[in-house]
Symmetry: C2
Subunit: 188 residues, 2 copies
DNA sequence: CCTCTTTGGGACACGGGAGTCCCAAAAATG
DNA sequence: CATTTTTGGGACTCCCGTGTCCCAAAGAGG
């Protein structure tokens, strides 16, 4: 669980493979290990040295992506301040880790086990509840639905940006605006 | 292009395979032909008799799904009446063909060639433009973005329903409400 | 009831991805 | 500069999905 102190060149290579795998697999979940190795600028042999199994690699990517995601969300401090402000910070945080998010969405449907949504972020659920309590979220929408919508819009925004249909910097604002007011605009 | 009059038992089998393929592939785009055959309650041999190639099968499913989708959208008559009303009918139409939509989303990203969105529905683009002209859609949101959001929310709604987290009948209304006002509710 | 169609399922070959092993070269480390 | 670590890449086997063929059985249709 703690740092295995594998450090040195190895740690860097592992990170590179992990990142490349996340990115490649997010685009094509059935990408070849050779593809991933190529994207990581590493030979297939090397990849196998770090992750003997394909499953092992995928699992590692999931874990790593989850970690990155959680760090980003934690940094958004969504427990503080008004719900709407927190929501905006949350959206920004999610968009920032777009690549990892994309991967997390597309694969084993991370909610494998059972309960939670894609990310086990209990804090997001709390935020939604808080927003409802403050009266800034539509009380007719269930927390789960709101969370799903949040994910869907972030996903869409990140995808559009990845395809060049949207400038990177505008994504968070656009998602936030749409999330808050829908397509009807502020005066809806 | 017209009906090849292959009818008889054959036509029925073909439909069954197509439907099963759409459903199976929408859940797992890398499903085995054996899986699909099993889902269609048909032997692998039979499947090959109808679609010699995997690509051929996928192409057929895409074409068929597109046809079903277009029929549904056409029935919604989205050119008539106020944009908001038309939008509501459109959402309902899309939700109705949820299975096919799910498939269409997940596979070759039907926009292969180039321009349009997932569905070549020029009419949807028209609707968006009309809505903006009528002032009922946020003018700061691009038509493309609005269309993407529409797709994303429908997709989310259908998925939630498929997982039992939402009652089938409530989906269209929920999606429409969220689409129009976001999570902030009507008084946003 | 007989014939033609459609199906099931076994057997087979092919191809490609996955996983393993090994050795020489490159790079890091002290 | 010498040693150890890390890497690249070839060679090989195994497995599984795919596609093809064939024949006997079930079913449809007149």
């Amino acid at each position: 669980m703690s740092t295995d102190e594998e450090s040195g060149t190895r740690s860097r290579t592992r990170r590179a493979v992990l990142a490349a795998a996340a990115q490649t697999l997010s685009r094509d979940r059935s990408a070849t290990l050779a593809d991933i190795a190529y994207a990581a600028d590493v030979s297939r042999s090397t990849l196998h040295r770090y992750f003997s199994d394909r499953d092992e690699l995928v699992a590692a990517v999931v874990e790593d992506s989850l970690r990155v995601l959680e760090e980003s969300v934690a940094a958004a401090a969504i427990h503080e301040g008004p719900a709407i402000e927190a929501l905006r910070r949350l959206v920004t945080a999610l968009v920032d880790v777009g690549d990892r998010l994309m991967f997390l969405f597309g694969d084993p449907r991370v909610l494998d086990g059972g309960g939670g949504a894609v990310d086990p972020q209990e804090s997001v659920v709390d935020l939604v509840r808080r927003g409802r309590a403050e009266g800034v979220f539509d009380p007719e929408l269930s927390p789960r639905w709101i969370e799903q919508v949040l994910h869907a819009l972030v996903y869409t925004g990140v995808t559009e940006a990845a395809e060049g249909a949207l400038p990177r910097h505008g994504v968070a604002a656009l998602v936030t605006r749409t999330l808050e007011h829908g397509i009807g605009g502020v005066r809806s």
